[in-house]
Symmetry: C2
Subunit: 301 residues, 2 copies
């Protein structure tokens, strides 16, 4: 599982800092999460093939999370895209993108499929043979969802010595990897546990931005491999959270601890801070395994 | 008069090339012309103070000319802007910007004034004590205007020796600079020509992008100091112009020659070309004084 941070700062684009966008590679799927202005250029810089992106997830309709979307949709058209593009985001996103295409008299010739979200509860919005994606209802100044990406449970690993020992025919191997027991010719049942090793654990990634501290997401993101959680402020500016509906680094660390996740990535830093390492220090007072998002950083889990 | 090219390539943003945007400084006014995605970052890179921009002119509603606008409007808000922002552009631009503000529940607290254009003839759209701005009707795939920026005629220069020689009181100086003759106490009329030198010539800038070769703009842009004219293609791809409604470098040179302008800037190059110097060579077969727009280039006239 690989996360490429294309941008991770809040508010306005700056010379060296891009607004929120990231690419998640999980189980051979590629997902673009949020699409602030400049995302196209960041995708090119990091050599991510545009054609591999088939699903875009937008958390909310603030500019620093979606103003790069109309341009990306247009660029796909100019590049001669033919395959479907699925866009998930709050109700309104379809009108937003289609108005810009209409004004430019430049509709797409590839299928552009919108999945507009309005729910207040977590729901599965994508479910294929490799991955499921669910919403994580967040609380911000506008309707906002985080997204939970989970690898489907993987096949158990064949214990080849055991299988050979029982002289089991190859045609049963797939059933065994799927967890089935085997009945031998003499009627003996060989338990699956004897014939296999545990499957490699399924990985999962939770993206939570933007939101006020919201501990009721903990059951949804429990034990994920990696949680990206916004931390716009340090604790010394905690008083700004109520009005702006953002989280401090300490609070992000608390969520990570309560949800018992393996890794926490912090991001969406306010541009008021010169040194983002203070965010790490603060979150680590409550949760150890903290990574700092930085534009262009690639994190593998 | 100073032109800063923030971006000058057509179609999609790329790692090193930005879509169209430029800043014109003329007679102490600053105008932003077009606003492709990434314009904010380019403004910062070139240290152009956001607060100095009070007027934005959008030629047409293709993404590479205006997808940076909602972000710029939002950033002005985040920076605490209080002064008016005037946006000139095709009908639809108001709906486009306001929808994005509405979706983000983030209206501006500064006055945002739209001047939506629908005319088919050149018209004066801004006229203050320093500058007039008129539209230049262009022909592209969607409704498009170029813009003509003209310094107001300047004051004549006082011939101080002549004025002292006639012992003319200082209270008449402003009238003399405005072109008035002076009647002396003995009734003699001293002609203004004797008392002044010619005013420095007023400068002018015509921005023409995007458009098919359209020689009927020549009377509007005649004798401008500097003409920026799109040249998306070289002559060898002239067959692409009719469908895409763009111009070749040769045609841009022809317009410059026919309009008897002093300088021509070429830009809006298709990204298919590796060497933009071929554009200059081609235009120079018909018009000598050709400059090449390049991202970040500053041209003074």
């Amino acid at each position: 599982m690989k996360v490429t941070i294309l941008g991770c700062y809040s508010a306005t684009p700056r010379t060296l800092n891009n607004p929120t966008s990231q690419v998640l590679e999980i189980n051979n799927r590629i997902f673009l999460i949020d699409c602030g202005e400049g995302t196209q250029v960041q995708l090119r810089k990091h050599k991510i093939k545009f054609s591999r992106i088939k699903h875009v997830f937008i958390s909310h309709l603030h500019g620093d999370h979606f103003f790069g979307l109309p341009g990306l949709v247009s660029t796909f058209q100019m590049l001669g895209r033919e395959t479907e593009l699925h866009i998930y985001g709050p109700k309104g996103i379809k009108e937003a993108v289609l108005l810009y295409l209409k004004l430019g008299n430049s509709y797409t010739s590839y299928p552009l499929i919108f999945h507009e979200l309005t729910g207040a509860e977590s729901e599965i919005i994508l479910d294929d043979e490799k991955v499921t994606v669910s919403t994580i209802p967040l609380k911000h100044r506008v309707y906002t969802n985080g997204y939970l990406f989970k690898e489907k449970p993987k096949e158990r690993k064949l214990n080849i010595n055991a299988v050979l020992n029982y002289e089991i025919d190859k045609c049963y191997y797939q059933n065994i990897k799927n967890g089935k027991d085997v009945t031998l010719d003499d009627g003996t049942v060989v338990s699956n546990e004897v014939l296999t090793f545990d499957a490699p654990p399924s990985k999962s990634y939770a993206f939570c931005s933007d939101t006020i501290y919201k501990p009721d997401i903990v059951p949804i993101i429990e034990k994920v491999t990696t949680l990206y959680h916004e931390s716009t402020f340090l604790d010394k500016h905690k008083h700004l959270c109520a009005h702006t509906k953002h989280t401090t680094a300490y609070e992000a660390g608390s969520i990570a601890k309560e949800a018992n996740v393996a890794n926490l990535i912090l991001g969406h830093y306010s541009t008021r801070y010169d040194n983002i390492h203070d965010f790490k220090k603060e979150a680590q007072t409550v949760f150890e395994n903290v990574h700092l998002a930085e534009d262009g950083k690639v994190l593998e889990f």
